[in-house]
Symmetry: C2
Subunit: 297 residues, 2 copies
């Protein structure tokens, strides 16, 4: 049986899995993210015990994904200092001796949603996770978007609402970017209560859905994905999605004439089709890509 | 000699050209845009007199570019009522009997810049024209982006500056979207003088460059093009580009660590490499695509 290695590398934990050709997870473990010196040998050991044909890594960022760059395959300006400038891709390639591919965790998740999940059969989608941070992955023409660097859509500026008790956000870089205004920690800072504990009907959710609708309208107007998928801890509040759809329709002011808008974006702004599995299945798809690339093209 | 038809269809005028395989324009005329009943026969006559292997059309929008839609190839919700719901692509295909392809004028221009102009050799770029309106075309993975509809990046919301004497913009749909705040007519409405007559050093340009830098930062963070190309009448003011670069670097607040940002975006936010020729050469490239598609794939 052909097996593939999948690594969802997060700032807090590493999820490692072995996946078969059909996309069924055969084995899976989770390790705390410590320093590269401590955590890399543990991960390499795991994949040596489960021989895989290729490895895919969906990783916290920012990353250098420019194949022409000397730092290609490294984690770059992360606040997790021990991992800054760490060449994660080349270390895995060298130690495991199999083809490996790296992308952002959210591009991986977006790829999984485009191939296997809520955007299956489409050529493009935006996947956003709203939690401790806000990150987004973009698929266009069937492939993850890198471009100059890679999407960092959590950091687009948002327009503060007049009744926001915290009109300056908490992002240390941008203040009132989306992450600074609408991430879990921003909600907690604004209301003194964790997002999880805030009930339906609380004014927090009016603001939250307004800021996330700015993201959706912005994406629709700028790169026009065929589906927007919103996941992550904050989106566990099921009442949020309809509020975001409604405010996105309102923000477009009738400018985009399209059946999806006329239908209230009900099938357009959606939750992940793969639940919390998008990340690890994205890493699996990256492993498949790595193998294909090594085989031929 | 193989000749290709190129049509740059604008709301005010139609530019028609015959282009050879090398991309040299062999003949070119311009017609006023009247109604389809008046203008279509004139255009069809022109291309019948200059037999072409295929036709490419870069057209004012919005357009229906979804090949699965019954209205594929039509102009949709344009304020130019005579052209609303006009099936421009199928009429040309039928009357001329050659392969034809349609895209937005700005996607055409973006394609020309990516293949022949300022973004030559790159896989992605954003082309924006700042004039009577603000429109943008997007190339990713070497191909124009349509997605759900097509980019309408002129209508992304911008954050009004505190010293803007016209904090509500003039867009009939969105008020303070980019077009409502930074198009030629918005500048004229705000200052009572046409953009052309406003001198360097006028406060108008501080605002203008700030709003356009919001667009640039937004694009860099959301879909991360490898080059941003700014054209159109307003951008004829040569002093604007350095102001926009500087404010974009400032807006990113050090978040994007990349050599292009470190270099002040000097080679990243640029003017069109093809001058005012991007539009018609984009239509030529669409004609080449139409021929290729008809031949094989």
């Amino acid at each position: 049986m052909n097996l593939y290695g999948a690594l969802e590398a997060g700032g807090t934990k590493m999820v490692l899995a072995v996946v078969d050709e059909q996309g069924t997870i055969r084995d899976r473990i989770s390790l705390p993210t410590r320093t590269p010196d401590e955590t890399m040998p543990e991960m390499i050991d795991y994949f040596r015990q489960h021989p895989v044909r290729a490895l895919g890594i969906g990783c916290f960022g920012p990353l250098d994904l420019n194949p022409h760059s000397p730092a290609y395959g490294s984690i770059t300006a992360t606040p997790k200092l021990a991992w800054r400038n760490y060449p994660i891709l080349s270390v895995f390639r060298e130690k495991l001796g199999v083809p490996a591919e790296l992308d952002t965790d959210v591009n991986g998740a977006a790829l999984a949603e485009a191939v296997l999940g809520a955007a299956r059969g489409l050529e493009s989608c935006l996947y956003v996770t709203v939690g401790t941070g806000i990150g987004g992955g973009v698929i266009i023409h069937g492939k993850p978007v890198h471009g100059m660097m890679h999407p960092e859509i959590g950091h687009i500026p948002v327009i503060p609402l007049p009744d926001d008790p915290m009109p300056r956000g908490i992002c240390p870089y941008h203040g009132n970017c989306l992450e600074g205004m609408a991430s879990g920690p921003a909600i907690e800072q604004r209301w003194g209560v964790s997002a999880k504990e805030l009930p339906e009907g609380h004014p927090a959710w009016e603001l939250e859905s307004a800021y996330l609708s700015q993201l959706c309208a912005n994406a629709m107007l700028s790169f026009s994905p065929e589906k927007i998928i919103l996941g992550g801890g904050v989106m566990q509040k099921e009442f949020l999605l309809p509020m975001i759809r409604e405010k996105t329709v309102a923000a477009l002011c009738g400018y985009i004439v399209h059946p999806a808008v006329a239908a209230g974006l009900h099938d357009y702004i959606v939750k992940p089709g793969l639940g919390t599995g998008s990340g690890i299945l994205g890493a699996f798809l990256l492993a498949r890509q790595a193998e294909k690339r090594a085989q031929g093209s």
